[in-house]
Subunit: 298 residues, 2 copies
Amino acid sequence: MPATRTESGSTPPAASEASLAPLGILCGGGTFPIAVARAASHSGRKVVLVAIRGFADPAVLEGAGFPVEWVHLGTIGAMLAALRRHGCREMVIVGYVFRPRISSLRLDWKAIGMLRWFLRARRGGDGHLLSHIASFFEKEGFILRGAHEVAPEILVAEGTLGRVAMTEAEREDARIGFRLLRAIDDFDVGQAAVVAERHVQAIEAAEGTDAMIARCGEMRASGRVRLPRRSGVLVKIPKPGQDRRIDLPSIGVRTVERAAEAGLAGIAVEAGGVIAAEAEAMVRVADEKGLFIVGLAE
Amino acid sequence: MPATRTESGSTPPAASEASLAPLGILCGGGTFPIAVARAASHSGRKVVLVAIRGFADPAVLEGAGFPVEWVHLGTIGAMLAALRRHGCREMVIVGYVFRPRISSLRLDWKAIGMLRWFLRARRGGDGHLLSHIASFFEKEGFILRGAHEVAPEILVAEGTLGRVAMTEAEREDARIGFRLLRAIDDFDVGQAAVVAERHVQAIEAAEGTDAMIARCGEMRASGRVRLPRRSGVLVKIPKPGQDRRIDLPSIGVRTVERAAEAGLAGIAVEAGGVIAAEAEAMVRVADEKGLFIVGLAE
């Protein structure tokens, strides 16, 4: 979607100007930041990586051909300086940030002035923390974009991604899972669950998706739940009330591998609401293991 | 509450007559069946234990001074015969029954006639299975009572049970947990969660309460979540739509021990909605370990 200049004088600075400047990517953990960088770069955009120490992975970010600026989570002044030094006007925030220890933040003077909201943010979950960071950057004059806006190809679209299709019974399990997750969208918990044969097996909270999937495998191995081989659907959706620019859930190669180990039949995500950064590799693994990956628009 | 004879001719057989006959207790796993038997016996009631092989614990039930009849889960005919042989008119169903393997049921002719509902029941969770069994016994002319009706002293009442009180912040965590569990009461999942510092740490599904509590300890040990020592509230409530006669949730000595190991501060349950079969022993352990146990009427 090309940015268009508007005639109205009351709108914020036109996106077309800002989007000619380099895109600043504030990088947390995982491989998604680099996937977003490659996608944005592929579409002709200059990219600068601002990497958060302790979360962003040097092995992933360094040597990919993009400038990398390393900062601590609390050195807001350094983040702003890095973005401005490279002439960025737009930025995205990508990758996982655990709830940090205050001592690991390395607060600078800019951040210490904001300490109250940081402490408040720390009390909530990751979503809260990130939304406070996001609104802060906007106050400083940056335009915050969603990763899906600068790299729409990373979103799982509607339909089946690989060779394996989902059965009608599995689709019904996915629907139950979607309904369950939507029922708890008020709470700052995980965005994933596992449903098998119409029965909710596991709901993610602070343990994370990988640990929740592993639990499903353990319950089977111990005989606590008895299910046929290759049954159960991992469901994942974004929170309806959530700012999609800062916290879209994601699936990847590892998710598929874990799901296969746990004996699940496949993965169903809300179409257009979940990131798959390494989609090709992920689908290859899913096909090999016989799992489905489906984007559902319901 | 003494049973009173009613003047109306259209009501079912008066409870007063039925309650003079021995109470049949269909016993699943755990120590709750014997606690209910003792409480009912204490109030002057004759008691017969009908114990389900593979679930009920002989070490718990035998030698307590009550007649015990052992049956398989699928030998419905044998259950009915045992209850009738002892002249029971009223019965309760107490104790845990995992979703069974069909082969372990040992279906008799009476049960095979009911196979269809058994298979349907097996697809849902425990709640479904038990509600099918319950409605079947009612159809056979037995009056199904709740354990809390024949032994009301086993329910956690409103207020603090031991010496340790709950802080206002912990009460707020408990409220968040209650709201979360009520949001998912439509789904046949666990009835417990852990909330610490206003953040949902874990939600129980098929893994059971003990495993969920253990997970909270593991997340702390691994550094995945960072919380002060002795923080976090285990919450437990009955499902609003649920038949309280057959599936009230419970806490016990083991629950307190697990919660202490996981570093939690205490346990909050819905007052009048959760069973504590060995309340004295449980409170002693809670006091020793410094945990609160509170019944909340909200």
